[in-house]
């Protein structure tokens, strides 16, 4: 056991930290709405790209640094620590790119990878549907072969960045006769066609981070199938497995910063002398630090034994629950400001309600842990 970074890892961290200090993003645009905010994040990714920091976990042949998993985790911790914006094409660099690297043809890699990294082409993810959330494999969007094209019709939901995206990682049903997992195919769908309508989905914070996609006979050339017809479930799993691999480290640091801010306010207001507040804040501290420890432990296991294990579900579960407790306690400590529309604490609290739903609901995570970590029998449900 050695909970320090190696010389190489420390050098990596220091180089990145210095680069971030020398190359801060522009100030966040105060007006201009979501479009201005997005342009700002896109500009930030270009800057990362020019500095060689857009996706250090990508292999060098595709423009990354070939970083180890540990370095990649350090990267996201530092991104979180520096309080810089999330790069605009994070879904492309984190999910789309690695999926193509594993399943794509040489032509697809040649065509798509570079514009992902430079944020020239933004990617979005068309997986969930109104009737296929946790039960993703039940999705109904259909793709029918027509010559050397596929014709796609259906509806997707929770598609963040769709209004800015050029490409959508789309999973659709190409065979409704076979087993629900086997009839799926993974496509790259061009978003710039009239057959794809993007409608913003207003969420409880009032903003629209996500969208609904209404797809009416959209066209996808056959060469845009990823990983073969009927193999969509496996390809989608690759995408999903990458989903929290790195991002978790950034989220975990963001929560740490929120807690540090909250503790500082509590100290200022003398609330840390109140045993009830002291107890609640200390418990959040224990949780925050154990999330960090469990995340690093998961990474160690993953480097030793290959794939990240289902234990990652523990980290996501504990993080989402803790963030909700933290932002709720903030109301007691910060006071009315935390309930005033437009303040950062009110935003954090409302946004945190999504944490236990997005990327696997807590209920599904508990099932995964029960079945795959503890080996408990799967609940038999009617088909």
């Amino acid at each position: 056991m050695d909970l320090t970074f190696s010389q190489q890892e420390t050098a990596f961290r220091d180089e990145l930290r210095a680069w971030l200090a020398d190359n801060p993003p522009d100030p966040r645009p105060l007006d201009g709405g979501e479009d201005a905010e997005y342009a700002w994040r896109r500009d930030w990714q270009r800057r990362l790209y020019d500095g060689g920091w857009a996706a250090p976990h990508w292999p060098t042949e595709y423009g990354g640094r070939g970083s180890t998993q540990t370095e990649s985790a350090i990267y996201f911790e530092e991104i979180g620590r520096a309080r810089v914006p999330m790069a605009a094409n994070i879904l492309g660099t984190l999910l789309g790119g690695p999926t193509l690297m594993q399943w794509g043809t040489p032509e697809q890699k040649e065509r798509y990878l570079s514009p992902i990294l430079s944020a020239e082409e933004i990617w979005c993810q068309g997986f969930s549907e109104p009737d296929a959330g946790s039960d993703l494999a039940a999705l109904k969007t259909r793709a029918v072969k027509d010559g050397d094209e596929w014709v796609v019709t259906g509806q997707k939901v929770w598609t963040s960045g769709a209004q800015y995206a050029t490409w959508c990682m789309l999973v659709a049903r190409t065979d409704s006769e076979t087993d629900k997992h086997k009839g799926l195919t993974y496509f790259l769908m061009n978003m710039n066609q009239d057959a794809v309508q993007v409608r913003p989905l207003r969420q409880i914070t009032g903003e629209a981070e996500f969208n609904e996609l209404f797809i009416e006979e959209a066209r996808i050339p056959d060469e845009n199938v990823v990983g073969g017809v009927g193999n969509g479930w496996k390809v989608a799993l690759t995408t999903l497995m990458n989903e929290r691999a790195g991002l978790g480290f950034a989220l975990q640091i963001r929560m740490r910063q929120l807690l540090d801010d909250l503790i500082a306010t509590a100290v200022e207001r003398g609330l840390l002398d109140d045993p009830l507040y002291a107890d609640a804040l200390a418990e959040l501290h224990v949780r925050c630090e154990s999330i960090r420890l469990l995340a690093w432990k998961g990474l160690t296991d993953s480097e030793r034994y290959g794939q990240p294990g289902p234990e990652g579900s523990l980290v996501k579960w504990l993080w989402s629950d803790t963030n909700q407790r933290l932002t709720q306690l903030a109301v007691d400590i910060i006071g009315p400001d935390a309930l005033t529309a437009g303040t950062s604490w009110s935003y954090e609290q409302l946004r945190a309600r999504g944490n236990t739903i997005e990327g696997g609901t807590t209920e599904v995570l508990k099932n995964i842990i029960a079945e795959r970590v503890l080996g408990l029998p799967r609940l038999k449900v009617a088909a």
Binding site: M1, D2, L3, T70, I263, S290, L299, L314, L376, P377
Partner: protein, 342 residues
């Protein structure tokens, strides 16, 4: 960054688990617990193996290994509920090693390292230390006073009155002593207490781990309404929560053990975190184990109650989750952000 054990540490863990699976099997633990007796044969064997002195300096006859190795043994002994005075001896030795003078160390540590002496550590509140684990058998007793001063006494200098606790896998006593009895430990008492907290936390991790293992095995096997009860989410999600609590305790205990040797500046914070997490987990996980076992879990024969009782005493030992968090809050108020980490 590496959370894994070394090959040597893994070997210690493997041999300890194998040995205790046989020598401290449930029937044997029950037999000794029901009779309220220490397992002398097992204790003799552990002494042979040098366990009591695993983390003590070689100069005093110890093995000179680290706190991680001590945590590994504590966890395995917790898993098996072995009725031996390992934990009280080790934590008393830790206090003497960290806060004792050279003469005090010379006097007590070789005997404790060899297991020829049994130690006990109690916390005096209102004139006496209650339920001091191992005290009825101990030859050397360390008494903490007000959390930051301590004195070491030969057992005959103290008034030791055996009092049975709910956990009969270990002996307990009420200990008091005249004000001028024994010798003050003049060194860093807090450093000793923090290291002791880590050992107790690790024992609790072992207790939780075993409670979860027994529960998972039981709910897979037990059938009602034609299916195994572990397939019901009300039960399986409870098991998932037990795992989360256990892993939270395990990761913070491992961090604290590592900190004790490698980054002692962070030890006060890490030890408080570990004991807070382990005390909560110990209570919750063993209570859940009883609940998930249903009616059988409430019976004497099911053996789950021994884990619950051990967890209750360990959770309270040297301060439960609430006082640990209060201590942690004081540290946080002083140091501010924890983001300097790693």
């Amino acid at each position: 960054m590496d959370f894994g054990f070394t090959d040597d540490q893994r070997e210690i863990q493997r041999t300890a688990r194998e040995l205790l699976a046989e020598r401290a099997n449930p029937a044997r633990v029950r037999e000794h617990a029901e009779a309220g007796r220490t397992d002398e044969a097992l204790w003799a064997e552990l002494r042979e193996l040098g366990w009591p002195g695993i983390a003590l300096e070689e100069a005093y006859g110890g093995q000179g290994l680290g706190r991680i190795e001590l945590s590994i043994l504590s966890e395995e002994l917790g898993r098996s509920l072995a009725p031996v005075p390992f934990l009280p001896s080790v934590i008393a030795g830790t206090l003497i090693e960290q806060a004792g003078s050279p003469a005090q160390r010379e006097r007590w540590l070789p005997g404790l390292a060899a297991g020829e002496l049994i130690g006990a550590l109690g916390e005096v509140v209102g004139g006496a230390a209650e339920l001091v684990i191992g005290a009825p058998e101990a030859q050397v007793i360390v008494l903490l006073e007000e959390g930051h001063t301590a004195r070491v006494l030969a057992a005959e200098e103290a008034d030791v009155e055996p009092v049975a606790s709910i956990d009969s896998t270990r002996s307990t006593a009420r200990v008091s002593a005249p004000e001028d009895a024994g010798e003050a430990l003049e060194g860093d008492v807090r450093a000793g207490v923090d290291r002791a907290l880590v050992a107790v936390s690790s024992e609790l991790v072992g207790v939780c781990d075993r409670a979860l293992e027994m529960t998972v095995a039981y709910v897979k096997e037990r059938r009602q309404f034609g299916v195994s009860v572990g397939s019901y989410q009300a039960v399986s999600h409870r098991c998932a929560q037990m795992l989360l609590d256990t892993e939270k305790a395990r990761s913070t205990a491992a961090f604290a053990a590592w900190t004790a040797d490698a980054d002692p500046e962070r030890l006060p914070e890490a030890a408080a975190m570990a004991k807070a997490a382990a005390s909560d987990a110990g209570r919750e996980v063993t209570a859940s184990a009883i609940q998930a076992h249903g009616g059988i879990g409430f019976t004497w024969e099911a053996d789950v109650h021994w884990l619950y009782k051990r967890a209750q005493l360990d959770a309270a030992l040297l301060g439960g989750a609430k006082p640990q968090r209060a201590h942690l809050a004081e540290i946080l108020a002083k140091q501010g952000s924890a983001l300097g980490v790693a």
